[in-house]
């Protein structure tokens, strides 16, 4: 699935769940500097579609992903990380988005 189509699907899913998504959101805090494909700064929920096409692997390095992961485990923010090959079709990506949002709903304070 192409990044543009994947991001559109995710934005639609996240917004349907009540989040106010800002596209290309610049997150710069706690040593993490990354441009996320979609993020609600108020709810601190978003997504990042990592593709070679967008040059993401140079910015969204494994270290950055690990830092995001640590903060998610602490409940400080929630970002669904989609690696390019993991969302082969819209059905799988929608499934992932919906299950992720369900989990976030339970975890968010």
């Amino acid at each position: 699935m192409r990044e543009r189509d994947g991001c559109a699907l995710l934005k639609q899913r996240f917004e349907a769940a009540g989040y106010a998504i800002e596209e290309a959101y610049r997150l710069d805090e706690d040593g993490i500097r990354v441009e996320l494909d979609g993020f609600d700064p108020e709810a601190r929920v978003g997504y990042e579609y990592v593709t070679l096409e967008a040059g993401d692997p140079w910015e969204v390095t494994p270290a950055v992903v690990d830092r995001l992961g640590e903060r998610m485990e602490r409940g400080e923010l929630f970002v669904l990380v989609v690696d390019e090959g993991e969302a082969a079709d819209a059905e799988t990506l929608a499934f992932a988005a919906d299950r992720f949002l369900e989990r976030v709903r339970r975890l968010r304070p």
Partner: protein, 433 residues
């Protein structure tokens, strides 16, 4: 008084007529050439068969006695030196030894026990393996999913699974796992599916290996049986093949040895002598006919082709406006455009008669091998010059005092000369034009 001349218009008309005449003759020669080349090929085929018959008569069997006689008659020492009998015996020994090895090999010896349809031990074992594989393959097919290999690799459904919940792949694994689990109604968790799948895969691999081994054993047994059958066929045909090979080598020796050297010895043996004369005559006939066609059909055809080329060039040259006023002296013009048809016809008729005379010749038995025997003279009754044939020219060069003597008796000669056909042939062959 002015000399008679011809103009360009007359030149072009005469050239057109001559071109038609040349083309017609060329076409007749081409037809004749094709027809006679085919007939000459048949003579060569007949000569080859005659040589086979001669070799068979010289070496009727592959026995020491037959070989000794063949060597005495032909001088072909290779028959003794290369010892076809010893070679044959060695081949037979090797084939028999190999078949003895095969027959002692359990894969051949127990072939029925191993490979009998439905009941052979290997056949039965293979059937069981295939049946087992069917069971495991059914499980593998039920579990088949594009993501299954990945799920197994990352340990999905086990404690080892470590994909973070905020990664999309976590959910893709989840979805795939559910899809597979749904197909196996008796399983409650993917961990059970995983165990069954891995067990079936391992078992199928083991059975596949057994299948390969059994098929290899069956194949080896079949190969041994086929090899033994082939060896039996080779054993059955070995004497005939060895004899044919020895005869072929003998034939090659005869072909390469001057007949003047061999002839008298061969002639001494009645049947062999007659066959040798026939073969020698047919070989000579083939060579004569081939060279006759080249000399009296091929060469004239080439000359006509060249004449046509020159005529066409002249027509182009004379068609130019600046040549319009050219005049040709009558004598030269008439000589050039005089019809060649009668001469062509005469040459062709002479060729046809010579060819036919040689082609129909069958009196090979009249031959007396020796230093003064020239087939050409006997085939043409000594009435045609064959010096365009290298063999005939060389013979005349090495036999300056040679005079053709008919091989048949006076009565036959008189009868031949008296016959109308012979007279006609003689006339044609001695025609100096």
């Amino acid at each position: 008084m002015s000399e008679k001349t011809y103009g360009v218009k007359q030149f072009l008309e005469a050239a057109k007529k001559q071109e038609a005449e040349l083309r017609q003759e060329y076409s007749r020669l081409a037809e004749l050439d094709a027809q006679d080349r085919a007939r000459t090929r048949k003579v060569w085929e007949e000569a080859a068969r005659a040589l086979e018959e001669l070799a068979a008569a010289l070496l009727p069997a592959l026995t020491p006695e037959a070989i000794t006689r063949a060597v005495q008659l032909t001088g072909h020492q290779a028959l003794v030196q290369e010892s076809p009998i010893a070679r044959l015996q060695a081949e037979v020994r090797a084939l028999e030894q190999r078949n003895a090895e095969i027959e002692a090999d359990p894969r051949y010896r127990d072939r029925v026990l191993l490979r009998a349809p439905r009941v052979g031990t290997l056949v039965r074992a293979l059937a069981e393996v295939l049946e087992q594989r069917t069971v495991y393959q059914r499980t593998l097919e039920t579990c088949a999913h594009p993501r299954l290999a990945h799920l197994v690799e990352v340990g999905y459904g086990t404690d080892a699974y470590a994909v973070a919940w905020w990664r999309a792949s976590y959910y893709a694994d989840w979805k795939a796992g559910d899809e597979i689990l749904e197909r196996l109604k008796d399983k409650k968790a993917f961990a059970e599916v995983r165990l069954e799948y891995l067990g079936a895969r391992r078992a199928d691999e083991e059975y596949a290996e057994r299948q390969r081994r059994l098929e290899g054993e069956i194949d080896a047994s079949e190969c041994l049986e086929a090899e033994r059958d082939e060896n039996l066929r080779a054993l059955a045909s070995a004497p005939a093949r060895a004899l044919a090979k020895a005869r072929q080598a003998l034939g090659e020796h005869l072909r390469q040895t001057p007949i003047a050297a061999l002839g008298p010895r061969l002639e001494a043996d009645g049947e062999v002598g007659l066959l040798a004369k026939r073969w020698s005559g047919l070989e000579a006939k083939g060579a004569y006919l081939e060279q006759l066609s080249t000399e009296q059909v091929g060469k004239p055809a080439q000359e006509i082709s060249e004449a046509l080329r020159k005529l066409q060039a002249d027509v182009v040259r004379m068609s130019r406006p600046k040549k319009a006023g050219t005049r040709f002296p009558a004598e030269k013009f008439e000589r050039r455009f005089q019809s060649r048809a009668p001469r062509f016809a005469k040459q062709r008729e002479r060729y046809v008669r010579t060819y036919e005379t040689i082609y129909v010749y069958e009196d090979y038995h009249h031959c007396h091998f020796g230093s003064d025997w020239l087939w050409w003279d006997h085939m043409t009754h000594g009435r045609a010059s064959g010096d365009f044939i290298p063999e005939v020219r060389e013979f005349h060069g090495t036999h300056p005092d040679y005079q053709y003597q008919p091989a048949f008796d006076d009565g036959d000669a008189a009868a031949a000369v008296a016959s109308a056909d012979a007279g006609e042939i003689a006339g044609a062959l001695t025609d100096p034009s």
